[in-house]
C-alpha cells in the first residue's frame, strides 16, 4: 500500500473529525453526567431511535458485563426511551432530531462525543440490539478482557455480528420489556459465512448468516456486513468509518491473524429479528434514513411478507460462548 493512499486515508480521517465537530451543533444534552467518568472507566456509546422496550434489558446486560458509563445519542425518539435513559445514574444522553443519514448514520455524533469523552478509555460502541459476548464472559468481567488487551498491547478487539432468530415466525412471540431477547430468539447460523479482505481499510468483510440466506439469496454481494470492531482503547485521533465495521487509522482493523494463528475475538449477538422488526422496517422504509436508501429494510419488509421463517433444520441453538468458540465463530486466541 503506497504512501499516497495512506496519506489519503489520513486526510479522510481528519475530514471526518472536522465533520463531527460541525455536526456536534445538532446535539442537545438531555443529561450530562460525564464529569463522573473516572480514569480507566469502561464506556459504552450507542445511537438509538424508538427503542424504549429494549433499553432496560440492554442496560442490565452491559452493567453486569462491567460497563461503567453509558453515552447515548437519541435520534428523535417519541416513545419515552430518552427520558427513561436520562434518569439513569450512569447514563449521559444527548438528543437530536437532525438527519441520521446526513450524520454518516449517527457516526458524526458519536465521533464527536468519543473525541471529547472517550480518550484513553476502553470503549464499546454497539447498537441497542447488539449484545457483546467475549471469551470467558460468563466468569470474567469485561475489565479482565481490557486489562489483558492492555498488557498484550492490543488496541482493538473484533466481534462479529451473529444474527439471532426465533423458531417460527418472527412475529409469533412478542418481546416483553426487560426480558432477555435470547429467550425468544436463541437460534443462529453456525457455518455459512463468507469472508473477503478489504485492501484499502485492511478489515475483513464478512457476510452470510440468515440475512444472506433468506433476504439476500439472489444477490449475496449486497448482503449486510457482519464484521465489527466494537471494543477499542479509544484515542481522540480515532474514528469509525462505516458503522463499527471499520476504523481509521486502519491498523485498528487488523483484528485477525494472517499467519495461520487465531487472535482472540468475540461476538455481537444481534437481536434484530424480534416482533419489533416489522414496525421498524415500515418506519425506516418511509424515513429512508438508512444505508443505501434503506435497502436493507426494504429487503426485510419484502422478505417478511413472503417467508418470515428464518429457522431451518440445521439452525444452531445458543448455549454459551464456549459453544461459539468450538464452532469457530469466535476464538480465545492465547487468552486462557
Amino acid at each position: 500500500m503506497s504512501v499516497w493512499s495512506s496519506y489519503r486515508l489520513r486526510l479522510k480521517r481528519k475530514r471526518f473529525k472536522v465533520r463531527a465537530r460541525r455536526k456536534s451543533r445538532e446535539l442537545r444534552a438531555l443529561a450530562n453526567r460525564t464529569s463522573e467518568i473516572r480514569p480507566n472507566d469502561i464506556l459504552l456509546f450507542c445511537t438509538m431511535r424508538n427503542e424504549d422496550v429494549r433499553i432496560p434489558y440492554f442496560l442490565r446486560y452491559y452493567r453486569e458485563l462491567g460497563v461503567d458509563h453509558f453515552i447515548f445519542v437519541d435520534n428523535g425518539s417519541n416513545d419515552g426511551g430518552a427520558e427513561y435513559l436520562a434518569k439513569q445514574p450512569d447514563v449521559s444522553i444527548w438528543s437530536t432530531t437532525a438527519s441520521y443519514k446526513k450524520s454518516r448514520f449517527g457516526l458524526d455524533w458519536l465521533t464527536y462525543l468519543q473525541m471529547r469523552y472517550a480518550d484513553d478509555h476502553w470503549t464499546l460502541t454497539v447498537d441497542v440490539d447488539e449484545f457483546f459476548v467475549f471469551p470467558f464472559c460468563d466468569t470474567r468481567p469485561v475489565r479482565a478482557l481490557t486489562d489483558w488487551l492492555d498488557s498484550s498491547n492490543i488496541r482493538s478487539f473484533g466481534a462479529m455480528m451473529l444474527d439471532m432468530y426465533p423458531k417460527g415466525k418472527v412475529t409469533d412471540t412478542p418481546y416483553q420489556r426487560d426480558t432477555n431477547p435470547l429467550d425468544i430468539a436463541p437460534w443462529f447460523d453456525a457455518g455459512n459465512y463468507t469472508i473477503s479482505r478489504n485492501d484499502q481499510f485492511r478489515n475483513l468483510w464478512i457476510q452470510g448468516g440468515p440475512r444472506a440466506r433468506v433476504f439476500f439469496a439472489d444477490r449475496p454481494k449486497s448482503a449486510p456486513a457482519l464484521n465489527k470492531v466494537p471494543l477499542v482503547k479509544w484515542s481522540s485521533d480515532y474514528t469509525y468509518v462505516s458503522s463499527t465495521h471499520m476504523l481509521l487509522p486502519r491498523g485498528l482493523n487488523l483484528v485477525y491473524d494472517e499467519w495461520g494463528g487465531e487472535k482472540a475475538s468475540g461476538v455481537l449477538l444481534h437481536m434484530k429479528f424480534l416482533d419489533t422488526l416489522g414496525a421498524k422496517a415500515a418506519e425506516e422504509l418511509s424515513r429512508g434514513e438508512h444505508y443505501a436508501g434503506s435497502a436493507e429494510y426494504a429487503a426485510y419488509a419484502e422478505g417478511l411478507k413472503t417467508s418470515p421463517e428464518l429457522w431451518c433444520k440445521w439452525s444452531e441453538k445458543y448455549i454459551n460462548w464456549r459453544q461459539l468458540e468450538i464452532l469457530g465463530i469466535m476464538s480465545k486466541g492465547n487468552w486462557a
Binding site: 466468569t139 457455518g191 494472517e258 475475538s265 433444520k313 476464538s331
Partner: protein
Amino acid sequence: MSSVGIVILVHTAFDRAEQVIRHWVKGGCPVVVHVDSSVPNGTFKAFERKLKPLKTVKFSKRYRCEWGTWGMVAATQNASEMMLTSFPDVRHVYLASGSCLPLRPVEELRTYLDGRPRTDFIESATTADVPWTVGGLDKERFTLRFPFSWKKHRRLFDGYVRLQRRFRFKRHIPSGLVPHMGSQWWCLTRQTLSAILQDPDRPAYDAYFKKVWIPDESYFQTLVRLYSPHIESRSLTLSKFDFQGKPHIFYDDHLQLLRRSDCFVARKTWPHANRLYNTFLNPDPAAFKAAEPNPGKIDRIFAKAVDRRTLGRPGLYMQSRWPRMDRENGLTSSPYSVFEGFVELFENFEFWLAKETGARVHGHLYHPEKAMFDGRQDHFQGALSNSAILRDYQPHMFLTNLIWNTRGERQAFQFGPDDNQKVAPSFIRDRNAQVSVISGAWAVPLFLSNRNFADIRIDAARMQQVETAHLNALRAADTKARVRIWTMADFIDSPMEALQTIVDEMTGKSVRTVTEAPRMVDLQGFGQFLQNLKNQGMHPYLMGDFPVENAIPAPKSTTRKPYLVRK
C-alpha cells in the same frame, strides 16, 4: 521459626500486594519489600504507612525496574542483602512479585523447605537448551551490548543489535561463567545467596551483567552454578508465559486448576480476581498436604492457548483467523473425497458409497442449478444453503465451510465438467482432498439421453474441453490432493479393484473387502455412440479406447446380481 524469608518486588496493585504481605507475615515469614522507584512518592508513602506496624516487614532501597534491564537485579540484590542481615534465622529466601499469590499455607512451604535444607530451587538452563527465548536473542543476550531500552527505543535497540552483528562484535564472558537462563522467580538458601552476593569478583560480574539483555533471567541463574551444592532446576513459582513472553494471568475461573496444581505460589494473578485472593489467603488449616507441586495440567492449558494463537485450527476461516496463501496450516479441517464420473457410470453410486464407507455422500455440490446435498435437502450442516447463487458467491468458502461444519464425519461429493469449475483449484491444492476421476464418463449421460445428436455433439465438445483443462491441473506439479485418474475404458475393465482402493483409503485401510458392487449403467452401444461423435468430427479421447461394438462386458440384464471376482 522463620526459616523462609520473602523478597517481594512491587510496582502496581498495592492493595493486593499488601494483602499478600500480611499473609506471609501472618504465616511467620519476614518480608523485604522493594517498590519500583517509578511509583509516585505519595503512593509509596501510603503503602509504607500501612505496613509500618508489622515488625518483620522492611523496605529496601528503591530502584527503577524497567523490564529487561539491570534495575530488577540491583533491586533483588539489595533486598536480599537486607533480608540476610536483618533476619539471621532465615535459611531460604523466596523471591516473589506483588502479583504472586501463595496457593498453599505458609506452613506447607516451610515444611517442604525444611525437608530440603540444602536445595536451591532455581530454573537454570544453558541457552542452547531452552526454547522460550523471545525476539530471536538467546546466546546473543550474553555476547552483545544492550544499552537501549527495548520498550521505549525499539528501533535503536534493534539497530544496535544489527550493527553489532554486522561487525561481528562479541563481548567477552567473564572466565568461569557459563551463561544459564531461567525463570526469574527463585528460592535460594542463605549459603548460596550470600556466596553470590559476597563474591570478591562480584563487581566484575555485575559490570558484565549490566549490559546483558534481561539480566534478571540470567544473573542468579548463572552465578548459582558456581556455588550451589544442590540445584533443583525448577521454580517453585508457577509462572507460564505466552508466545510473546508475557506471563499468563490467573482469574477466578482458574481456582480449581490452581488448587489441584499443588504449587506454592502462582504468578501472575489478576488484581480483581477476588475469589482467588479470598480462597488462597484464607486457607483451610486442617487440609494439610505434603504433595509435590504438579503444574502439568495448567501447563497443558496454557500450551494449548499458545498453539491456538500461533497455529490456529486448521481449515477454519473466521473473523480472527484469515491466513495468507500458504500459511493456512491445512486448507481444510479434515479429509474428504471428490468423485468425478462415478455417478455417471454407476446408477446407485451415492447410496453404495455411503453404505460401504459410512461417509456422508453428496451429489454434485457444484451443480449449476443448486448444491445437491445428501438427501437433496435445502440446507445442510451449519445452515449452508443449497442456493447456487449463494454458493457461487465464494465457491471456495462453501467448500471450507462444509468441511469445517462436518468435522468428525467424512464428506464425499461428485464433481464434473458441468459443475462450477472455480472450486477446483481449491481442492487440487488441498492435502485433505482425495480426488478420483473416471475421465470421459460425462459422455454416458449424453449417450443415455434422448436428445438431438447435434446438441449432444456441442455439449460433448464443451465438456471434453473443460475436463481436459481440469485433468491438466490435477496432473500439475503443485497438486497436493491425492489424485487417481482412470480412463473410462480402463476403469470398467476392472472396476472392483479401483473401487476397493478408494474405499480402503477412505475408511483407513480396513481389511474388509467390498462385497457388493455398485450397479453399472448399461453401456451397450456406447462404442458406437463414440464412433458417431467421431464421425461428426468431434473426437472424444478422454474415455480411452472403446471398440465400436460389444467388446465391453455389458450387463446382460439390469437384474443381474453383481459379484466380485478375486484373484
